[in-house]
Symmetry: C2
């Protein structure tokens, strides 16, 4: 399987499925899709499929597209709740079309997932459970932000559900589509879960240290709302950084950022992310050697080595 | 099939499926479910199932529950967009938990639909298409409200998608589960579609003439936002009632209501709803006589005869 060609097929499928005669839904969906994004999740589906013997690209493409649309829908809704006005270097759906249409566009994308997954029978359960976990994770995060309280355990619960569950599902779906053995499906599931955790930890670190332009989304929002790895680690390290502080200080964001950057919270988090990725890579020992397996390893390492 | 027992099983299933260790999602879901609602859609599924020979209640219950959860999710999101603070005679999810958690609760309910439907293979497509139509209908409505412009054709497009499509799907799903003939599935689909149109027309009329307490939701909201049957009919009748007026006049709502109530818009709409219901009932000629068929006819007539 040529992964570049496969990923182009995923792009085409996503654009095709969100077509609608209701122009706002079509335009807003195209807007968020054409802004790009790293497409790690559908890549994970396709590579897991290929690494376990899958050969029919067209059979796996709708599932890979569905996984990315779950993520895309959650991003659109997230930008409503977080008042995020920049996403992937462009104005968010929320910023252009307003809250009402952003909410409906997210619903539209979530619903298009059903349509894509309908033919895949039992695999539907895998994606349904991951999507429920994602929504639960987002809710735990909003609840923690509201309480202005985030410890390491809650942070782990949040990222496990809102991010790692979908990565895990993506890898399992790819393997399931290929008819992989139970052992391979489980190993790839753990691979996905670990790199999902690592991905979110790195994402939160980058959110802390990057400015708006570099990261392509309104930076500092996650921090300002008391979520993100920095406050979790700061909190677990005995730091007293809570969300409320942000709202009251003069230049609160800069001050808190500085505090975390000076401490060892970020180094600790990055070390943990690297260790998760190596743990993930070792899970792939059950797979035969292949180009796809090598590309899975590269994908995993890229997650901790990226700067955006 | 005892429809009362079947509907109790639907209630139990809905409460069970929305369980979550994330307390906000569980509590908000229980809140909106325990507020009641007419449960017309799941009743339509169960009766269509029974009227075409279905006998295993437990097989149809998850599908009937899924159909009601699609509606429930849309209601929760609708109350965010409409700033509706009363729903079914109680504070809306939005009013109690705020916008962020209401958005996530709606996502949670939409996602639970996948979980319920996962085992039903091809029938997934039927519900997926109806849910997409529902979101498209809501979007057309928001767009029309924003433009302050609603003619009869747009009004028909809106109610066909946001309401009638799910009624149609419910009836088709019930028949599909029972292994009904193609002719029966199609006839029941039309039955559902027609009573869905009638239901929404009557709902919009009631919204116009009922006060807050009677209807159990913030009355006049649909009107205030330039949607609903009144402004559609008024507009098609050459009336110049548009949403913007509401915002500027002294007691705009009362004035507009009076204007519509004095005209023949409501009578015209009610006549049309009645005619739709009779058209629907005639579709049932292809079904053998049964208690369930009689209950479908009663359900249809109740839709136009209700006062809430």
């Amino acid at each position: 399987m040529d992964i570049t060609q496969a990923m182009q097929a995923v792009e085409s499928k996503m654009f095709a499925i969100v077509d609608s005669d209701v122009s706002v839904l079509r335009d807003a969906s195209h807007h968020i899709l054409s802004a790009g994004g790293k497409r790690i999740r559908p890549r994970l589906v396709m590579l897991s499929y290929a690494a376990t013997g899958g050969q029919d690209v067209s059979y796996a493409v709708p599932v890979a597209s569905a996984v990315e649309l779950v993520h895309t829908a959650s991003v659109v809704h997230d930008d409503i709740n977080d008042h995020g006005f920049v996403r992937r270097g462009r104005p968010s759906v929320n910023a252009i079309w307003g809250r009402t249409f952003a909410l409906l566009t997210g619903d539209f994308l979530f619903t298009k997932v059903y349509e894509l997954m309908a033919p895949y029978k039992d695999l539907n359960v895998v994606l349904a459970e991951a999507t429920i976990a994602l929504v639960e994770g987002e809710t735990l995060q909003a609840a923690a932000a509201k309480e202005g309280n985030l410890n390491w355990e809650t942070y782990y619960q949040i990222i496990a559900r809102k991010t790692a569950a979908l990565f895990k599902a993506g890898a399992r779906l790819g393997a399931g589509l290929a008819g992989a053995t139970h052992e391979q499906v489980e190993a790839l599931g753990r691979f996905g879960f670990y790199i999902g955790l690592a991905f979110q930890i790195i994402d939160d670190i980058l959110d802390l240290i990057a400015d708006s332009n570099q990261l392509g989304k309104t930076a500092g929002i996650d921090l300002a709302q008391g979520k993100g790895v920095g406050s979790a680690y700061a909190s677990s390290n005995g730091g007293a950084i809570v969300a409320e502080r942000v709202a009251v200080a003069d230049d609160p964001l800069a001050a808190i950022k500085q505090k975390i950057l000076e401490g060892d919270a970020i180094d600790t988090a990055r070390t943990q992310a690297k260790s998760l990725v190596e743990q993930a890579v070792s899970e792939l020992d059950v797979l035969p050697e292949s180009t796809a397996k090598q590309e899975l390893i590269e994908l995993a390492r890229l997650i901790v080595d990226r700067d955006h």
